[in-house]
């Protein structure tokens, strides 16, 4: 295995192990998404129909992801550990990739709870929706992890991350909702794939500059 992949694996395992020990982020995300869905039930007027519910599903997912992302680099910045990782003779983008993979795992766990809940509360979830969610998750985690590192460097971390993230999340929501509600979801899924490709590459290439001076 290449050194790059080995480093990513080492760091991703570290992130997963930390969450397994601390058990704070994933339970919070799961609880949040369920609570959000319940709120949405009360927020939707009776005649809204399924399509409105799908839109709100995506809102719930975006904000659940944000909850997790805010915690993304919290430990590293609080304890100065980012310095230790930056000092290591590894490509700095491995730090980003490992963290993004861990975030993806957390988000998938939250969705494994959210989607059945949504199916029970509102309406069933189609295969296209799941495909859209899968693609959207990649975009959310790649961009979100980089922005989380940026926000962690600022004074106003928890406040700043949503502001940085939401404009970039708009195309994701468009792609996702489109895939859920429109008859031919192919275009939307393709768009999500393009989004993922573009922003994953930019994130990968620029992470070095986010954590070094």
């Amino acid at each position: 295995m290449s050194a790059y992949a080995a480093d990513v694996l080492t760091l991703a395992r570290k992130d997963l192990r930390l969450e397994l020990r601390a058990r704070d982020t994933v339970p919070a995300m799961v609880l949040f998404v369920i609570a959000a869905l319940v709120v949405f039930h009360f927020a939707l007027p009776g005649a809204s129909g399924d399509l409105a519910a799908y839109g709100l599903l995506w809102v719930a997912l975006i904000f659940t992801a944000l909850l997790g992302l805010v915690r993304g680099f919290a430990a590293e910045r609080e304890q100065g550990l980012l310095d230790a990782l930056v000092l290591a003779p590894v490509d700095r983008s491995t730090i980003w990739l490992a963290k993004a993979l861990a975030m993806l795992a957390f988000l998938v766990v939250a969705e494994l709870v959210a989607l059945p809940a949504f199916a029970v509360f509102f309406s069933s979830v189609s295969a296209e929706t799941v495909a859209g969610i899968a693609l959207a998750d990649v975009g959310i985690c790649t961009v979100g992890t980089l922005l989380s590192a940026m926000a962690a460097a600022s004074r106003t971390r928890e406040l700043l991350l949503p502001l940085l993230f939401l404009p970039l999340a708009i195309p994701i929501v468009v792609g996702g909702v489109g895939a859920s509600v429109v008859g031919e979801p192919g275009r939307y899924l393709g768009f999500l794939a393009v989004y993922d490709a573009i922003f994953a590459i930019i994130s990968w290439a620029s992470f070095e500059y986010v954590v070094t001076e």
Binding site: A6, K14, L18, G80, L81, L87
Partner: protein, 234 residues
């Protein structure tokens, strides 16, 4: 007021090379590989670092030969930590030139923070860094270090449960783990009890011939016998 005095010298900085290569770290950007035969380990000319309006370091000149041991002293806020961070490459100078002959793989850094994950055990922490630094015979080396620093008994306990003194010992293990050529230690005796102090002194004496040291300390007398040079920051 002379125009020249107003202008800060902004030179070009390199992108850091990964392992082994010589690095030139200056304000600005530009790659320069130095010959590593007889060049000093550290060479700084007119090094300065500002944080906004605050001038922490001003026009500092420094030469540290390979195998040197520099004691950095000065009151709080004098810039000892800033200097060490500059040498480690964690931050870049505002002005002047800084050459460090070794890359990240050969630098060991001890900070004020312990730089260990609270939720991981001692051995997991060292294993993490051991993998990232590609330490050969990782497990044996980790075991040996934990034993040397008196942490073998608590190796499977989470770092979060350690006392400050134990955390400091673990941080020292982390700094020494990959047998670096350049050790940058920020107040290494902090929080250590009597036994810990003795341990560390013994380690430093043992490592003295094999590495270059830059040590920031409030208590220079203890390390005076080892030192080859003193740098007092105002």
């Amino acid at each position: 007021m002379a125009e020249t005095a107003c202008t800060l010298q902004r030179l070009r900085r390199t992108s850091a090379h990964l392992a082994g290569g010589a690095e030139t770290r200056e304000a600005g950007r530009g790659v320069r590989l130095g010959a590593s035969r007889v060049t000093p380990m550290i060479r700084a000319r007119s090094l300065s670092k500002d944080f906004g309006e605050k001038h922490v370091l001003e026009a500092l000149d420094l030469d540290v030969p390979r195998g040197g041991f520099v004691l950095v002293t000065g009151p709080n806020g004098a810039g000892k930590t800033t200097l060490l961070r500059l040498l480690a490459g964690l931050t870049v100078p505002t002005g002047g030139e800084l050459d460090v002959a070794v890359g990240r793989a050969l630098i060991g850094f001890l900070a004020h923070e312990s730089l260990v994950y609270r939720e991981l055990t001692a051995i997991e922490n060292l294993d993490l860094y051991g993998r990232l630094y590609r330490v050969p015979e990782r497990r044996e080396r980790i075991g040996m270090l934990l034993e040397r620093f008196g942490l073998w008994r608590v190796r499977n306990e989470r770092a979060g449960s350690f006392s400050r003194g134990m955390l400091q010992r673990l941080s020292l293990c982390r700094a020494f783990l990959h047998e670096p050529d350049l050790l940058l230690l920020d107040e290494p005796f902090n929080a250590l009890d009597g036994a810990g102090v003795d341990l560390l002194e013994r380690e430093l004496v043992a490592l003295r011939p094999r590495a270059t040291f830059v040590v920031a300390t409030h208590d220079p007398a203890r390390l005076e016998p080892l030192a080859s040079a003193r740098l007092a920051l105002a």
